[in-house]
């Protein structure tokens, strides 16, 4: 990829030699600093700039998801990636767009005044049903015009697990957009997990046998890797009969996911995982609160429904059943928790508050059980992103990551809050006022997306100060995958 970029800049350089006569004074202030340094004396030709798309949201309280909140700050993305977060960020000025027809400028730069609103990372739903259109394999079933996709985006969900894939909710806003669907940027991963069964004695035996075979092969392979350096003739160990899924789990390429609820199964999975040295993800995990320490020690992660209900079996003296405190107790023991509602599809039957459209409500119930607000937010952003192995792209708002964000009219976890705008890859894909669904509910005061405003400001582009916050963000970005605090990631105790 880097090579391609180098080629590109070479091409730009060559083109620039022949294009010096173009009447363009590019203001480089909006580009990222590296580029600025690189081509200090270059005048970027229209032909190249033409492809760049900018999105600026300003005046917002930005909840980056890294523990930082920036008040009345701005965020700028270029071609779908966040390039700046902080203060005094300017979008490209009018001069930049010289030579581009007025009508097109709107697509080159969107500027959103989000005064009084909050910006959060787009929600990552670890699992959902039907959001991309219909159920089934994503590539075969996605419908970029579907109502479900719009309603998913209206909830603030920008990324979701669909089967084994992690995909973005990429919607066609207009029917004029080009087909076919570009899957490259939309499918973030096709191997988010490997499904293992721990429900019956035979499935447990099966899992153990396959895992043993995979481990044996892996050990043999690694030994061979060393030995073959000395003896080039040495034959590679046979891979026959080894389940590649289990190999992927052991090599850390993907996470093993189990569905388990009761104490005994959870303990069994924890022991199994420790024995073979992998981190299990457990869906359900209803009695996790009883064996939280064991799960924490095994490095387990959990996908829970905060409102899961099961009465304790009163005939048994041992603890049992569900607890509203499940998510909180698990996280205290070092188990990372992602939250999904009891019904993971869009329910249009009118029973509100139970389905994927009310994911923040489900999270609210985890908070009722003692989960901190910060970890609650993580349970629908960073944690699921990590579980699906896509946290390098989504889950937080950091420079270099995808510009997937939501703009809300208040605290995301409050029942009255609506998502006002949803942005995926730096493109506005949902605007509450533009859809029939919720526009009539507490309508937004007149303040619309105003690309012209930003363009006017550019006639005399103000000097852009260097953004210090950006570097701060970068630093935080480096250790993204490491635990942020003791509660969240202390899984080795």
């Amino acid at each position: 990829m880097k090579q391609i970029q180098n080629c590109k800049s070479l091409a730009i350089g060559l083109t620039a030699l022949f294009a010096l006569t173009l009447p363009v004074q590019a203001s480089a202030s909006f580009e990222d600093d590296k580029d600025k340094d690189k081509k200090e004396d270059e005048v970027e030709p229209v032909a190249e700039k033409d492809k760049d798309q900018y999105f600026l949201v300003h005046n917002a309280d930005i909840y980056t998801g890294t523990g930082t909140v920036l008040r009345s700050a701005s965020l700028l993305s270029k071609n779908g990636k966040i390039v700046k977060i902080g203060y005094d960020i300017e979008a490209p000025g009018r001069d930049y767009f010289k030579g581009i027809p007025e009508a097109e400028r709107e697509f080159r730069l969107r500027s959103l005044d989000a005064q009084g609103m909050r910006v959060y990372p787009g929600i990552v739903a670890i699992n959902s049903s039907g959001l991309p259109g219909t159920n089934g394999d994503f590539r075969d079933s996605v419908d970029p015009f579907s109502e479900n996709m719009v309603l998913g985006l209206s909830t603030g969900i920008t990324t979701t697990g669909v089967g084994r894939s992690a995909v973005k909710l990429k919607r066609y806003v207009s029917y004029e957009e080009p087909l076919p669907y570009d899957f490259d940027g939309i499918v973030l991963s096709d191997k988010t997990y490997a499904s293992l069964s721990w429900t019956t004695s035979s499935s447990r035996r099966d899992a153990r046998e396959k895992m043993s075979a995979a481990r044996d092969y892996l050990n043999a392979y690694r030994t061979w890797q060393e030995e073959v350096k000395k003896d080039k003739e040495l034959a590679e160990p046979e891979k026959k009969g080894v389940d590649s899924t289990y190999l992927e789990v052991l090599t850390g390429e993907t996470y093993a996911r189990f569905r388990a609820a009761d104490r005994a199964s959870l303990l069994g999975i924890a022991r199994f995982a420790q024995e073979f040295g992998f981190r299990p993800i457990i869906i359900g995990c209803r009695e996790g609160w009883i064996v939280a320490d064991e799960l924490g020690r095994a490095g387990a992660m959990a996908i829970v429904t905060a409102r899961e209900r099961r009465d304790k079996d009163e005939r048994l003296s041992a603890e049992g059943g569900s607890s509203i405190e499940n998510a909180a107790i698990l996280t205290k023991a070092g188990v990372q928790v992602a939250i999904i509602p009891g019904s993971n599809g869009v329910d249009l039957g009118g029973i509100a508050g139970q389905d994927i459209m009310h994911l923040p409500v489900e999270v609210g119930f985890a908070i009722r059980g003692g989960l901190s607000e910060e970890l609650a937010m993580a349970s629908i952003s960073t944690v699921p992103a990590r579980m699906m192995g896509i946290s390098d792209r989504v889950g937080t708002l950091e420079v270099g990551k995808d510009c997937d964000l939501i703009v809300t009219d208040g605290d995301l976890l409050h029942y009255q809050t609506f998502v006002q705008y949803t942005v995926v890859d730096g493109q506005l894909v949902y605007d509450k006022e533009e859809e029939l669904y919720f526009a009539h509910i507490r309508p937004r005061p007149e303040k619309e997306i105003a690309p012209e405003e930003a363009l006017d400001a550019g006639e005399n582009p103000p000097e852009t100060k260097k953004v210090e916050e950006e570097e701060e963000e970068d630093e935080e970005g480096d250790d993204e995958d490491k635990p942020k605090d003791k509660e969240e990631g202390d899984d080795d105790k």
């Binding site: 303990l267 609210g364 908070i367």
Partner: protein
């Protein structure tokens, strides 16, 4: 029956350790509460009172009166023998020396929540479907105080429910108003009959050969006409008209209460056509006290008529109508909240119900939150009143429960904030001045 003694297995050992940890945390929490109480300097201790005379100090009291001020900051509330004796500002209301005192710090106090559409007062057997109309059946005979389906609701602050028969027939029978605490039937009884349950929606269609609206409404009208005539005969006799008492029909006795306006008809009715039949037949034709129970979908379009003829709206379990099936609900694609609609049409008494177990009983406050989410104006705390004073008034108990007013039963909830917010947790619940739930009693909360 005896259980053989066994050595502890690993899971039980684990439990023991978990228990220790949680005891530690609970102790820590207790200490914090104690510290905050000591800081307040009002003579409060950390001991949670129960029964007798006590005073509760709090940062905010949600009064939930039908009109007027809705909150009182830095309040103190005096309870004497199960009733609210006084309520006022801490600085203005002095607490007599013999009262036990508890300062709940930054927590809020509100009246116990009330649900007028619930089926969890007993465990089963409340939906008899042998006959199509059953005005004589009493669901109180299946009530089971303190059953396992009432444990979480009590922990959620729901103290009173209207336990009603199912909607498998057009007249399911008589509901019972009961409290959610454990005890004998008389201990939990608020009023029996609590209501007459009429179902006009689609559920009774499952009866017999499959009825349609015309036959269902015919049977309802038939029973109501019989009942009305029966009640009028008795009223005439009680006025001294006629020497001989009318023949007693226990199947029709409930209509005497209805005709005397002592109870209401709680109507399982949901969308426009059905609610229209509710208003026309039950209210306009027979003049019985009626409330919409289970109101949903596009029924709000009838809000204007309902308000005019005095029919309150209790809404749920569907709080919003989605633009899904245009043949049935022709709308333009908007998500329309039921409460939003009724409010827009000028209905004064709007409440929320769960239809538990359709929506779990403990999620009653979430029903009000969903009402607000989908457009219900909550600026005057209408959502909280919709689960307290409004249902109290609608079921004829407005003088006894539903708000923090002097003389009312001391059904009190101590909680961490806005009751509609799922994030809010309930700490203490009092019913008739007795402590009914204390979150600290169990190491791990179920709800």
């Amino acid at each position: 029956m005896s259980f053989p003694l066994r050595p502890l297995n690993s899971a039980q050992l684990v439990l023991a350790s978990v228990e220790k940890v949680w005891k530690g945390i609970a102790l820590g929490f207790g200490a914090t509460l104690l510290a905050s109480a000591a800081n307040a300097g009002n003579g409060a201790t950390d001991e949670v009172p129960s029964g007798g005379k006590f005073a509760l100090h709090c940062d905010k009291a949600l009064l939930c009166e039908l009109d007027g001020e809705q909150t009182l900051d830095h309040a103190v509330l005096l309870v004497n023998d199960g009733r609210i004796e006084a309520i006022g500002r801490s600085s203005e209301l002095s607490v007599p020396a013999e009262y036990k005192q508890l300062d709940v710090g930054s927590s809020w106090i509100m009246p116990g929540l009330i649900d007028l559409h619930s089926h969890v007062g007993g465990l089963r057997g409340y939906n008899d479907m042998v006959f199509q109309v059953n005005p004589g059946l009493r669901v109180s005979t299946t009530a089971r105080p303190g059953n396992r389906n009432l444990v979480r609701p009590l922990a959620a602050g729901i103290t009173t429910i209207l336990f009603i028969p199912g909607s498998g027939t057009n007249i399911g029978g008589q509901g019972v108003l009961m409290k959610t605490i454990d005890g004998g039937f008389e201990d939990v009884l608020v009023r029996d009959p609590g209501s007459l349950k009429v179902a006009q929606g689609d559920n009774p269609k499952r009866w017999g050969y499959g009825m349609q609206r015309t036959l269902m409404n015919h049977h309802i009208r038939y029973s109501l006409r019989q009942g009305k005539a029966y009640a009028q005969r008795w009223e005439a006799f009680e006025r001294g008209e006629g020497a001989e008492a009318p023949e007693r029909h226990i199947n029709l006795d409930v209509y005497r209460d209805l005709n005397a306006q002592k109870i209401s008809i709680s109507t399982h009715t949901q969308y426009f056509q059905v609610v229209l039949a509710t208003l026309r037949i039950l209210r306009m034709e027979f003049g019985f006290p009626v409330f919409i129970d289970h109101g949903s979908f596009d029924s709000w379009l009838l809000g204007g008529i309902a308000e005019e003829i005095g029919v309150p709206a209790i809404l749920g379990p569907r709080e919003v109508m989605w633009p899904t099936s245009p043949t049935r609900f022709p709308q333009d694609g908007r998500a329309e909240g039921s409460a939003w609609g009724f409010q827009k049409m000028g209905v004064k008494l709007i409440g929320f119900n769960t239809d538990a177990p359709v929506i779990p009983q403990e999620e009653l406050p979430l029903q009000s939150a969903m009402g607000v989410r989908y457009g219900f104006d909550n600026s005057d705390m209408a959502a909280v009143r919709g689960v307290t004073i409004v249902p109290a008034v609608v079921c004829g108990q407005g003088e006894k429960i539903g708000s923090l007013e002097v003389g009312k039963e001391a059904d009190l909830v101590v909680l961490t904030g806005d009751p509609s917010d799922p994030r809010t947790s309930v700490q203490l619940v009092f019913v008739d001045g007795e402590l009914a739930y204390n979150a600290e009693d169990s190491e791990v909360r179920s709800w």
